[in-house]
């Protein structure tokens, strides 16, 4: 396990979900499931976040908010779509205001299924996201190093 994988910061935003996945995400961070044992910290600030957890589909009003949060996060970053609504739109797919899953606006790396997604599944998604985050971070470091060398 690399350095950054020990302390990724997590940002949660509720797209247009029914709340079910949101409270399961919160339940993950509390004692019984305790995702914080992986070194994760829940933050409210996009500028400091590494992993973006999004629940619920994207609608016409919040698509700019989701995109803005994603753009504000520093690279490298990982996006986890939690729940079937964030993956595809779910039961609300046919609603007039729903554009689709989170991937209709931002690139999604990991899809966690379930309605509502169970805490175990969410933790599985987070652990996978942490590994991907380490990978991307290494790539990023190597790139920066190569650029520095080339610059000299």
């Amino acid at each position: 396990m690399g350095k950054v994988a020990r302390s990724p910061w997590l940002l949660h935003y509720d797209g247009s979900s029914c709340n079910g996945c949101d409270i399961e995400v919160l339940a993950c961070l509390t004692p019984v499931y305790d995702a914080e044992r992986f070194g994760i910290m829940n933050t409210g600030d996009p500028l400091q976040a590494d992993i973006f957890l999004i629940t619920g589909g994207v609608n016409t009003q919040n698509k700019d908010v989701v995109k803005q949060i994603y753009d504000q996060m520093p690279r490298p970053k990982v996006v986890v779509a939690v729940g079937v609504c964030a993956c595809t739109g779910g039961v609300f797919k046919e609603c007039y205001n729903i554009l689709g899953g989170a991937d209709s606006v931002i690139p999604v790396d990991i899809y966690v299924p379930g309605c509502a997604a169970r805490p175990q599944a969410i933790i599985d998604g987070i652990v996978k996201a942490v590994a991907l985050f380490q990978e991307r971070s290494d790539e990023h470091d190597a790139k920066v190093k190569a650029e520095k060398k080339g610059g000299r």
Binding site: S17, N19, G20, T30, N62, C95, N97
Partner: protein
């Protein structure tokens, strides 16, 4: 001419904010540290479920209505079913009524414990937040045992319920709610008697009885201001067979709202005990419902956040003509805006939490 020396500025609050699990946006007009006016703008979770009701089969729609909100999921499903049962003019079997009551009270316990945790998080008492959520897991285990889902139960159907609670399950429920009662008594002391908690809650966001009447507040917010209103007294489901009195308080501040919700958890525990003791022996769970709905019906329920109203209208087709839901948070937003006037900026997060906002209910 007098010169206005005070400077007003507008602070946008939300939709993405650390204290809120859900997006609500408020434009706070502040003067120094004091909020002068709060202008809410909603619509970040609007999906258009009432529109969907017009193009989805009325039986399937039950499962979509449950997903209006993950916290009050069971009660939404039940409200929809009661409205449709009203149109079909069928009487639900007694056992189904009692089972619905038990599940309702279980979701009330989990909703209130969730709120107590979020309140503790709102005033920065992290360990208290964790304790409340630890206790809450016990009731979720019981929901999983009896319905198969932690949050979305999907056990309602038009005409009754789909699953039964057998004797082993009732024993497990009684054991678990006993444990919850014991553990809640331990953290109750911190919520109600701790000096720091009291200094954050007492005298903050006061609403008088008259203001509640004027603004149309519902649920625990109204009861904390001394308005004795609880729709369970209407006697829907099995509430007419159970003995209870609405919990009220007269102070109308954040402390009173915390107190009311905390005691409602005990009340729900008591109601579950009563309902299990009176559970009818006849194991018929549902009555058959034939044909398509024709007519209209209006149902009122007491959700954990207050009064919810369901209206359904059909004209003999497979789809409903109109489905309308008025949710408790929507009724409480005017009270929130009134509370925010004159509050300091640091109390805004706490005051928003104190009405127990459920934005996904409100916007559907």
């Amino acid at each position: 001419m007098a010169v206005d020396l005070s400077r007003r500025s507008v602070i946008p609050y939300g939709p993405q904010h650390p204290v809120l699990p859900e997006p609500i946006h408020l434009d706070l007009v502040i003067e120094d540290e004091k909020v002068v006016e709060a202008i809410p703008s909603i619509g970040f979770i609007h999906r258009g479920l009432e529109g969907l009701a017009m193009k989805k089969d009325f039986n399937d729609m039950q499962y979509v209505i449950e997903r209006i909100c993950g916290i009050c999921s069971f009660m939404h499903g039940m409200g929809y079913c009661e409205a449709l049962e009203g149109i079909f003019e069928v009487e639900v079997p007694d056992r189904a009524k009692f089972l619905r009551t038990i599940w309702c009270e279980m979701s009330r316990i989990h909703s209130h414990l969730l709120w107590l945790g979020l309140l503790a998080d709102g005033f920065g008492f992290e360990s208290l937040f964790y304790q409340a959520w630890r206790i809450r897991e016990k009731i979720l285990d019981m929901a999983e045992l009896t319905t198969g889902g932690r949050l979305i139960a999907s056990v309602n159907k038009i005409g009754g319920v789909l699953k039964d609670i057998d004797d082993d399950m009732t024993k497990a429920i009684l054991k678990n709610i006993g444990e919850i009662e014991e553990e809640l008594k331990q953290i109750e002391k911190t919520f109600l008697l701790d000096y720091t908690v009291q200094s954050r809650l007492k005298g903050v966001g006061v609403l008088t009885k008259e203001q509640i009447h004027e603004l149309g507040g519902v649920g625990p917010v109204a009861r904390a201001s001394g308005v004795n209103v609880d729709l369970r007294k209407r006697g829907y489901a099995a509430y007419k067979y159970l003995d209870f009195e609405p919990v009220t308080s007269n102070d109308g501040d954040c402390y009173a709202r915390c107190n009311v919700r905390l005691h409602e958890v005990y009340q729900s525990i008591d109601l579950i005990r009563q309902a299990i003791a009176k559970l009818p022996e006849d194991r018929t769970l549902a009555v058959p419902v034939k044909g398509n709905p024709d007519g209209e019906c209006f149902v009122r329920l007491e959700q954990s956040r207050g009064e919810a109203v369901y209206y359904a209208k059909a004209t003999g087709g497979k789809f409903l003509d109109r489905m309308r839901i008025r949710t408790p948070t929507f009724a409480n937003i005017p009270s929130l805006c009134e509370m925010l006037k004159g509050a300091t900026l640091s109390d805004v997060g706490l005051l928003v939490i104190t009405i127990d906002p459920c934005i996904s209910c409100t916007e559907r």
